[in-house]
Symmetry: C2
Subunit: 214 residues, 2 copies
DNA sequence: GCTGCATATTGACCGATGGTCAAAAACGTG
DNA sequence: CACGTTTTTGACCATCGGTCAATATGCAGC
């Protein structure tokens, strides 16, 4: 009666997560997940309809909490829109690092299922954060901090570039190039929203915390 | 002695292309490709090391010509930078439509190998067009048509947004939302490069040709 | 403790896949 | 024709994601 079902469910997700840290997705079989979770393969399909569904659930579990905190962020109108935007950016960065960095540094970059993982992660992150960031931008516009006619577009553009560039496996770049793109994005956002050059610079300090050279 | 080898090689690519127009990638087996090409499965592996390699070769073949013409575009300084930019944008749009549209409308959106195809295509398109667009932008800056400090970043941002949004399977949107994002991107580019509002509007007419409503 | 039903769990099993390989065919050359 | 080389073949393999009938477990009410 103690929700045993959810316990096993989480155990399966734990197993997949553990395996993902060691090897590439396409090398992880359902049997392996089952073995790591300490159950039979058949049981996997009692909790999940497919291998794909396990992945989806894991992506969702990993980002549920940070995204909910981002959600509440939108409502805290006492914090300045700029600061909240920076916090969203940081959330992107952290989650990118958590889920993608380790494996890709070591393993081969582009495998069929690896791409699938990235897509799931990006789709989830952008579609979840877009409404939040959009609202913050709208508040910024109302408050007079920003001037732009397409808040949702602005939010989506910024998020897509951030997520895609922070990943760095879709369009591999040297750290310097990535840096340049991010700086260019900031500059574009500044000019596009009618802010003086340098006013959004603080976004950069959030965006890069483990890299050298400015 | 007539390069028979290349003939068969192309035949395999033809077969994959033909199958891709009918069904989703994950439903296409190597045997099926072989059958369509009129050869035995074993022969496939005489020309390609893996199924993945066939895909890569096909992506490359499909975009080699349009990208080379884009390359020559960069050198035609007699055409205005704006016009050439618009032509690049159109190239993006056309190739997106050619390779991705048909299947995704009918089949389920996100399958593991489908994501792989998209990634390959996006990576190839953006990385190929980035240097071309960068040079055009630099010429525009030198010519006084544009003002911006990070031409490469500008090129990459525009290309990524275009490719990602034109695909519309990574972050599914209604036609209206896509429209809004593109319009927002244009607006952002105008303001960011010191151009008056509406001056880049003509990019839109290239970008949308099969959709209704503005 | 026993009975009966629902919920969980199992692992043998299935069809299909990507990929291999020894053998055979086709080719070019002397 | 005879030969070495390059192509071509399809049976074969290991493995995968997924199914399912059988089985175990948990838990009512008696």
């Amino acid at each position: 009666m103690f929700m045993k079902k959810n316990v096993k469910y989480e155990k399966i997700l734990d197993a997949l997560q553990e395996l993902l840290e060691k090897e590439s997705l396409q090398n992880i079989s359902v049997s392996e997940i089952a073995q790591t979770a300490g159950i039979a393969k058949g049981s996997i399909y009692y909790y999940f309809p497919s291998k794909e569904a396990i992945l989806e659930a894991l992506v969702e579990r990993n980002y549920k909490t940070p995204l909910e905190t981002a959600q509440t962020l939108a409502e805290q109108t006492d914090i300045s829109p700029f600061t909240r935007m920076a916090m969203i950016f940081q959330a992107c960065r952290n989650s990118s690092a958590a889920f993608l960095s380790q494996k890709q540094l070591s393993s081969q970059l582009n495998a069929p299922e690896e791409a699938f993982l990235r897509q799931k992660y990006m789709t989830y992150l952008v579609s979840s954060l877009k409404p939040v960031l959009t609202e913050i931008i709208q508040q910024g516009i109302a408050h007079g901090d920003l001037r732009f006619d397409h808040p949702a577009a602005l939010a989506e553009i910024a998020l897509i570039i951030l997520v895609v560039k922070l990943d760095n496996s879709l369009f591999p770049c040297s750290p310097g190039e990535t840096e340049d793109t991010i700086v260019g994005l900031i500059s574009l956002l500044e000019k596009g929203t009618g802010n003086p050059s340098g006013s959004l610079n603080f976004l950069t300090s959030y965006t890069q915390s483990s890299d050298r050279a400015v």
